[in-house]
């Protein structure tokens, strides 16, 4: 199908882009990679008055170290994240999750900012950013504000962004280097039925701390299994502790039933995937944090 008609603007500067957003009274959408937005327009799941193409705006596709934080421009393409040494050194979880995003063509276009604004409850980028405790900077003509990832993702395909705001940065604090990422799909490249992202620190005795367990596809947004993580604080991820935490993770899920899986099946998978991810975390990381 074809998109409904819209006006297309390609602003020369960020200020111009924000000006158009402001004056569009909610009728405009920012076009970044477009790998979710364009299908939604063409399937007529969404109509817009104006598309603001930010792809040519300078300075929005940098990845840089700002002290211990890693800062991503909203236009950083997934393909770029896949191979950047800065990302593999600092945020290996993100790099691992990226390979589950779409396929190579999608990753050549899709962006980190676009993925967060899309807020797909099964999306790998929102999930990884939640596990990594990221913060987005949202800008409008009246100024900018920081939004913690947990506050940004407010529901299925819904964010706390105001219609006149645009994501201009994604800031990720230093992360525990140990991670595990697992995803279940019906078929290759499909949206996830469930995905799990975990980061944590392991000391020289093999005891774990600062665990963050994020679950995708099992609620209207990615969620943190906070109590399951606290239960494992100071443990060596022994089988019994892992099994108990895996059950506890069920408390934060409220899975949807859709074409990919029933709610019942998703609930069934939660403890299994949490257990597998924790086991993988433990077994993959025999060495302590340096």
């Amino acid at each position: 199908m074809k998109s409904a008609p819209f006006s297309y603007v390609r602003p020369e500067s960020l200020a111009d882009a924000l000006g158009v957003l402001e004056s569009s009274a909610g009728g405009a959408r920012v076009l970044a990679g477009g790998q979710s937005l364009v299908p939604m327009l063409q399937m007529r799941l969404m109509q817009v008055d104006t598309l603001i193409d930010i792809n040519r705006l300078p300075g929005l596709d940098d990845v840089r170290a700002d002290g211990p934080e890693t800062v991503f421009g909203p236009l950083v393409r997934h393909t770029m994240l896949e191979s950047l040494p800065l990302v593999s050194e600092r945020l290996p979880l993100l790099q691992s999750a990226i390979r589950y995003v779409g396929d190579p063509q999608i990753r050549n276009r899709g962006t980190i900012g676009g993925s967060l604004a899309q807020a797909d409850p099964t999306g790998e980028i929102p999930l990884a950013c939640l596990a990594l405790d990221a913060v987005v900077v949202a800008q409008s003509v009246s100024g900018s504000r920081r939004i913690a990832i947990g506050d940004l993702l407010v529901g299925s395909y819904a964010t706390a962004l105001e219609p006149e705001e645009m994501i201009t940065e994604v800031r990720v604090p230093p992360a525990a280097h140990h991670f595990a990422f697992l995803e279940r799909n019906r078929k290759h490249n499909d949206f996830a039925v469930i995905n799990v992202a975990i980061v944590g620190c392991r000391d020289s005795d093999g005891r774990w701390s600062s665990l963050r367990i994020a679950l995708g596809g099992v609620n209207d947004r990615p969620v943190l299994a906070v109590e399951a993580a606290s239960l494992l604080e100071g443990t060596m991820l022994e089988e019994e502790a892992v099994a108990e935490a895996a059950q506890l993770a069920l408390e934060v899920v409220d899975p949807p039933s859709d074409i990919r899986a029933s709610a019942e099946y998703r609930r069934h998978l939660v403890p299994i995937y949490v257990r597998r991810a924790l086991t993988k975390l433990r077994d993959d990381h025999e060495r302590p944090d340096v």
Binding site: G34, V38, L51, N55, D61, R77, T79, S83, P104, I106
Partner: protein, 168 residues
Amino acid sequence: MSDRISVTLVVNGREYRRDVEPRMHLADFLRQELGLTGTHIGCEQGVCGNCTVLVAGKAVKSCLMFAPQAEGLEVTTVESLAGFDEELHPLQEAFKDAHALQCGYCTPGFLMAISALAAEGRRPTRDELRQELSGVICRCTGYENILTAAERYLSKQRVSEGVDGWGI
């Protein structure tokens, strides 16, 4: 609301200028405005990959870009492969030799996805190729012969390290 907009771009080395509605996607632009019907449209929602072309050297799904987004960029389509005398390109020869197509509808998508790998100087293993080509769907072949053709072709191409820029 939807005024026509001028789009100037270079396709297979030749410059074109057209006035189109902004909502026209690049695949329709290539087929309907330029008559380059080698780019096939399957799903128009970014799933089948049959419309894969190169934009600024990167493999992309041309149904997921609106034509004005390609303003000033270089686009490479399947028409760039065969010579004027209809002599097949080595990649097309590899497809023919390996029986890598049946109905042929998806073939332009695969040819362009593999061309992108060759242009980037990459030579993935067969297993890696499964990932690299996972963005194009074929309903006839079961993929094995496509992988064989890709492997044979890429094994004869220059391998280089690093990628020059991130495209668009």
